[in-house]
């Protein structure tokens, strides 16, 4: 977890001196200093810190009152050596004038530089009682209805509610988990709810998919079949499987003769009379949903340096949206701007110094190549592609870097992503928001942290994560 804290905090803290000194180089000591001082702060318990902690703008650079206070305390001295002292020296100051000191805000999880960022602890319920709910404490009856609606798609009947109410408290808690286990195998959860969660990650377009109505001389213009992506997503998030395989699987998933999801090994040819729609990449070059034909087609398309593909992977699977300045971890010397797109301009380099070293790893994967049309090349592995498409590729020999780690291939990059705390936190965050209906509030952050940090011991099972989630006060307290 400390690794995540350090990385995320690097985003916030390294930008301040980076801009001041005109140096976009990462400052790895800064987050360590920050979290050594504020180890128990909610911001260090799994949120994605952004530049707004200190900045109102990073290009041109501008600070909020807290960032300005840090800047002033540094007094032009070396950032790495003086950040901890600067942070500590303004702890008792109320930089944003909202009545709470900076330290109080850091401990609460609000922004000490934004007077509108506030949170009040929940009051204790008062009143004569409530015949319907145990207000203010975990109420299994309340949780029962939520479990059934969220995961089975339907409320319990009157008879089921009556039977549940007859159980003792411990038996009710056990019954909740039995119901959840049943619901997690239901068509509603697998084919409705999980599919809906996948839409923003897969981003289907009917006109290009298997259901397209477009055809030419009898050939259906399926450019790629995103149903493969949906099935892989459904498969790895059910049956106590390892959810990391959404990024590392070297198999694909189809429906067997019984309609069940089942892995399929090897290269998968396109169906007859369709341009595409199979999975042409050899298994050893596959990286789960990152290398499906659909993902490469939709995101890489014709681009030489697949920046959109990398940025989408970072956002969809790690929860780090570079467009929101989340997860910025500049790599020294980047961006190289190999394709002369101007991404080394200061305003662009802020993000591209993180993005481009990831995008290089996707360069050996074709998006959509019409060079020899009507013969199309869609979503394939072509090791010669970077040198052919990117001038100076071989001379530059750029490093592939994600989350501060150098890797040799996209397959290795996907493994680093899947094993990262960011992946676990993002998966848990997605489920938390679905089940609870909002982002984790300050009083819920401890429960949230407990859920996502338990994923490794739970074998990265989404099902086990959900069993932990329904036991939280955030889920079951009316």
């Amino acid at each position: 977890m400390a690794t995540l804290h350090n990385r995320l905090l690097a985003v916030t803290c390294s930008l301040v001196p980076g801009v001041i000194a005109g140096d976009a180089e990462a400052k790895p000591s800064a987050p360590r200093e920050f979290c050594s001082v504020y180890a128990g702060a909610p911001e260090c318990l799994g949120r994605t810190i952004t530049c707004t902690k200190c900045h109102t703008s990073t290009q041109p650079v501008a600070w909020n009152n807290y960032g300005a206070a840090v800047f002033a305390e540094l007094g032009g001295e070396a950032f790495d050596d003086n950040l901890a002292l600067a942070l500590a020296s303004i702890e008792d100051v109320d930089s944003d004038g909202d009545g709470l000191s900076n330290l109080e805000e850091i401990e609460l999880g609000t922004n000490p530089g934004d007077p509108l960022s506030q949170w009040m602890p929940l009051p204790e319920p008062t009143g004569p009682g409530n015949d319907h709910y145990d207000v203010g404490v975990y109420d299994p009856r309340f949780a029962f209805r939520r479990v059934r609606l969220l995961f089975c798609g339907m409320s319990p009947s009157f008879e089921e509610v009556e039977a549940f109410a007859e159980l003792g408290h411990e038996d009710q808690r056990a019954a909740l988990h039995e119901n959840l286990s049943t619901c997690l195998q239901s068509d509603h959860w697998i084919d409705e709810a999980l599919v809906e969660l996948a839409h923003p990650k897969i981003r289907p377009v009917t006109a290009y998919g298997a259901d397209t109505s477009i055809s030419v001389m009898g050939f259906v213009i399926t450019v790629a079949d995103y149903e493969w992506d949906y099935r892989l997503w459904q498969y790895v998030l059910t049956g106590d499987r390892d959810a990391r395989e959404m990024l590392t699987a070297q198999y694909h998933v189809d429906r067997d003769e019984n309609g069940e999801l089942a892995p399929v090994e090897g290269v998968i040819e396109a169906p007859p009379m369709r341009f595409a729609g199979g999975q042409p990449i050899e298994p050893e070059h596959r990286a789960g949903m990152l290398t499906t034909q659909w993902n490469l087609f939709l995101n890489t398309m014709f681009s030489a340096v697949p920046r959109v593909t990398a940025g989408h992977a970072y956002r969809a699977f790690l929860g780090l949206d570079l467009s929101l300045q989340q997860g910025i971890a500049p790599v020294h010397g980047e961006p190289l701007d190999l394709d002369a797109k101007g991404v080394d301009a200061p305003a662009c380099a802020q993000c591209h110094s993180t993005l481009d070293p990831m995008a290089y790893a996707f360069a050996a994967y074709e998006g959509f190549d019409m060079t020899n049309a009507p013969s199309l090349v869609i979503g394939t592995y072509r090791p010669e592609r970077p040198a052919a498409r990117i001038p100076g590729w071989e001379e530059a020999s750029p490093d592939f870097i994600v989350l501060g780690q150098k890797v040799e291939s996209l397959v290795e990059m996907a493994r680093v992503m899947a094993d990262s705390p960011e992946f676990s936190r993002n998966l848990a965050h997605m489920m938390f928001v679905v089940a609870v209906g909002h982002e984790p509030e300050p009083e819920e952050l401890a429960e949230f942290e407990a859920i996502w940090t338990a994923l490794p011991e739970d074998g990265y099972s989404a099902n086990r994560l959900l069993h932990r989630l329904i036991d939280t006060d955030a889920f079951g307290t009316p």
Binding site: L122, H132, G136, L149, M154, S157, F158, P204, V436, T477
Partner: protein
């Protein structure tokens, strides 16, 4: 305009002006300090109505008799995503202005369809009513209590309180047929916040 339309317009107008019937008196219960409810979105709403009224999914509500209100036409207003038709990959976080109107539309359709089927017989939900009667049940009578109780059990999985029976008793005092009462009582219980949020 049918007689039901007129009755419905009157009841809905009264409800709008009056701020809606209170299912329980606010000052009699301990209030939640969290007040963080989940919105029962299109798929769950449809399934709960299907279960409550024992209808097939395509009997709940269809526009022009063919397109599902909950799946195809009003699914965005009801909280669903529309990735294939609109490129809306993520459902809206909160209800829209039109959501309340659409919920009314769906519930009135489903309730009307259930009453029509029960009127043809054999009755499934409104078993205590004579649906051919030109007058609705008397408030507090056996048929009234049985009907309201059945609706509460089917929609909310609990029995109505005395106060809730009293509120629906006001409805029964309006001049209307048994079928009109059945539709409006069904709509009244199905459109409670307790049914629509969880």
């Amino acid at each position: 305009m049918t007689r039901l339309d007129i009755v419905l317009a009157g009841v809905l107008s009264a409800a709008a002006c009056g701020g809606g019937p209170e299912t329980v008196a606010e000052n009699e219960l301990t209030k939640s300090t969290r007040a963080r409810l989940l919105w029962k979105r299109n798929v769950a709403l449809e399934k709960d109505i299907v279960r409550a009224l024992e209808l097939a999914p395509d009997e709940v509500c269809n526009e022009l008799g063919t397109a599902s209100c909950t799946r195809d036409v009003h699914h965005v207003a009801l909280g669903g995503a529309a990735p294939f038709s609109l490129g809306l990959h993520k459902a809206l976080p909160t209800p829209m202005l039109s959501t309340a109107v659409v919920v009314d539309r769906v519930l009135l359709s489903a309730c009307s369809n259930r009453v029509a089927k029960d009127a043809l017989g054999p009755a499934v939900v409104f078993t205590a009513l004579d649906l051919q009667d030109e007058r609705g049940p008397a408030a507090g009578g056996k048929a009234f209590d049985a009907t309201v109780t059945a609706l509460y059990r089917r929609f909310l999985a609990r029995d109505p309180t005395e106060q809730e029976l009293s509120v629906l008793g006001d409805l029964a005092r309006e001049p209307m047929t048994a079928q009109e009462f059945a539709i409006l009582a069904c709509y009244a219980v199905g459109s409670t916040t307790e049914f629509l949020f969880y």
